[in-house]
Amino acid sequence: MKIFRIFLTIILSLTFISQVEAHAFLDHAEPKVGSTVVAPAQVKVWMTMDLMKKTFTTLQVFDAKGNEVDKKDVQINEATMMVSLPRLAAGTYTVTWKALAICGHKTSGTYMFTVQ
């Protein structure tokens, strides 16, 4: 029983610690994942942990033909990434992010949004 209590304490501690070193995942984004919006001026993503400003960490936006349409001016600030956009035509766009977290773990992902 004592071992069980110790084990439970460890699990709960690990589960609810807020300042952690773990993989960086997408927490939320603007435009939102899967949303339909009027032409946005930028794409901004909030990750689940701080990022390293190194070559692997990127944020790109592609049109339906696979052409990169962002202004390639990625700004990284702690756990957020942002890239500016020109005036986008109506259509579906794919956001691709790659994140090198401060602990050294690499993650990547994509999502789409639609411009009316």
Partner: protein, 320 residues
């Protein structure tokens, strides 16, 4: 005595691995193919050769009485732990140990270790855009390393295995709400080291097949549509696992197995899983059981020690 010495050797080997591994610092993410994170499942093994620690897995189940009436219905609690370590890129070795508590109906309870199980796995083929992975490997249950009291086999069993995983993120957008679905599974062929026992009973070869069908709410949230759910709901992966054993010779009898509906809950440091175990027939068991598991993401907990192979770590990007 042999069992004790062997366990000491395994522990010494594990400590050596950890010590050597702590000298390296480069890291890789665990369980990803493209956008898909494949979680470690509870009863069927996942296809990734990565650093993993399940501690513990606890199952509660009632075993049926034997057909000849010599063994009564038995309540069983298994407490197990599994540790896997990536040795070379995409190749991992693992060790599993289980303590079994048995309480036959109307008899005194007993407990002891099951045979020690060693495993190896290699990620043979991967396709990120299609969220697909195929791995090969196998397990060896070391005969005689467990307790005879709880019926651990005196012979070893050798099980070559195929592991696979497929996410459905490549479906067309018209089916976007199906994209969070994924399936992982294993197909193994268990070959006992001895065909028969001294009491005349036979040990059949057994086809071990199982799969997990899962719907990832994190995937839905991060890659398909922001449904704006809050924690902890957006961290949950509902799933159903199927774990089956089909004897193929020596009068092995019917297929036995369980269907296990449940959930996985993902946090930054660990995953907690809970499933019911529904027997598919009376040969499997008379009642519904339950299984719980805590899976630690040791590559996140100890990034300088785990999360990368011991040898030939080719991941240079982390140093740029």
């Amino acid at each position: 005595m042999i069992s004790f010495q062997f366990r000491r050797m395994v522990m010494a080997a594990l400590m050596s691995v950890i010590a050597w591994n702590s000298l390296t610092t480069k890291l890789q993410a665990h369980g990803f193919e493209g956008d898909r994170f494949f979680p470690p499942t509870v009863t069927t093994d996942d296809p990734f050769a990565t650093d993993e620690l399940s501690l513990p897995t606890i199952s509660f189940f009632n075993n049926p009485a034997s057909a000849d009436g010599t063994t009564p219905k038995t309540r069983e609690i298994d407490i197990s732990s599994e540790f896997d370590k990536e040795i070379f890129p995409k190749f991992a070795l693992g060790v599993t140990e289980t303590e079994i508590f048995q309480k036959p109906q109307g008899q005194t309870g007993m407990n002891g270790f099951d045979n020690l199980s060693l495993s190896a796995k290699y990620q043979l083929f991967e396709n990120g855009p299609h969220e697909f992975i195929l791995s090969i490997g196998g397990e060896i249950d070391l005969g005689g390393s467990g307790s005879k009291l709880i019926g651990a086999d005196s012979y070893s069993t050798y099980t070559p295995k195929l592991y696979y995983g497929k996410g459905f993120g490549d479906l067309p957008n018209a089916l976007k709400y199906l994209k969070p679905f994924a399936v992982t599974g294993t197909l193994g062929y268990a070959i006992p080291g001895e065909a028969g026992n001294s009491d005349g009973s036979l040990n059949p070869d057994v086809l071990q097949w199982g799969f997990a069908l899962e719907y990832s709410l994190p995937y839905l949230q991060q890659h398909v549509e922001d449904v704006e759910w809050l924690h902890p709901f957006k961290d949950i992966i509902p799933l159903v696992e199927f774990q089956m054993n089909t004897p193929v010779n020596r009068g092995g009898g019917f297929t036995t197995g369980t269907i296990n509906p449940g959930i996985l809950w993902e946090s930054k440091y660990c995953q907690i899983g809970a499933e019911a175990q529904i027997p598919i027939n009376s040969s499997t068991g008379p009642n519904v059981g339950a299984i719980f598991q805590v899976q630690f993401f040791i590559d996140d907990l100890f990034p300088k020690v785990f999360g990368h192979p011991i040898f030939f770590n080719n991941d240079k990007d982390a140093d740029k």
